[in-house]
């Protein structure tokens, strides 16, 4: 059976967008889709180990979600990505350019984040899939 392919490109560093991206990607992964996630621009920093407090809310929803996350209400986006990788076929690619600009090495990123990719490689792998951009 050829699987559906879902590609999620995250550019924003806002909590709302990263949370929505995490929900789409993780539910697609556990629904049998092949999922490719590309962490670009401002979306890379939240996946540096120890950066828990750096994700800014864009508006009211983000502020409310942050309050609720502490009491196990809204699933944490990092946990959703980790579960997507663990329970489904999800690969998370940090953008090579963003890593270069920030001066970040692979070992500084969360363990479920895969090896860096350039755009040509990502576009090639994303061929034929649905693309979601956040």
């Amino acid at each position: 059976m050829s699987a559906d392919k879902t590609c999620v490109v995250i550019v924003s560093g806002s909590l709302e967008r990263i949370q929505m991206a995490a929900m789409v990607a993780s539910v697609a992964a556990v629904s049998g889709h092949e999922v490719l996630v590309f962490l670009a621009m401002n979306a890379l920093s939240p996946f540096i180990k120890g950066s828990n407090t750096l994700v800014p809310a864009e508006g009211e929803m983000g502020e409310l979600m942050r309050e609720l996350t502490g009491e196990k209400k809204v699933p944490d986006f990092r946990m959703l990505f980790e579960q997507g990788v663990e329970l489904g076929d999800m690969k998370i690619y940090p953008c090579a350019m963003a890593m270069g600009v920030l001066g970040v090495e692979q070992q500084q990123l969360e363990s479920y984040v895969g090896e860096s990719s350039g755009l040509a490689k990502f576009l090639n792998e994303a061929r034929g899939g649905q693309v979601w951009t956040f």
Binding site: M23, S26, V27, V30, S31, G32, L68, E71, K72, K73, V74, P75, L80, Q83, L87
Partner: protein
């Protein structure tokens, strides 16, 4: 012998209860029943949809005092 497990997803928003169910299915045997408790109506709608596409058997959804009880049987 088929077992019945309860997964307590109360208090968690979408897709928390679904993820908890999937983890429970992974550690279950074919034929086992799992009852998910959820206070999130989105999950009550989402879980049956996921279960039917995922090759498992959807048994029932019952709401009691604001808690949805969604029962499924592992099919593969």
């Amino acid at each position: 012998m088929a077992e019945k497990k309860i997964v307590d997803g109360r208090g968690s928003f979408c897709p928390g209860p679904l993820m908890e169910l999937i983890k429970a299915l992974k550690s279950s045997e074919i034929g086992d029943e799992i009852e998910v408790l959820s206070t999130d109506i989105g999950s009550a709608k989402d879980i049956p949809e996921w279960v039917k596409r995922g090759g498992h058997e959807y048994i029932s959804t019952v709401e009691k005092n604001g808690v949805w009880h969604i029962t499924v049987r592992k099919g593969k």
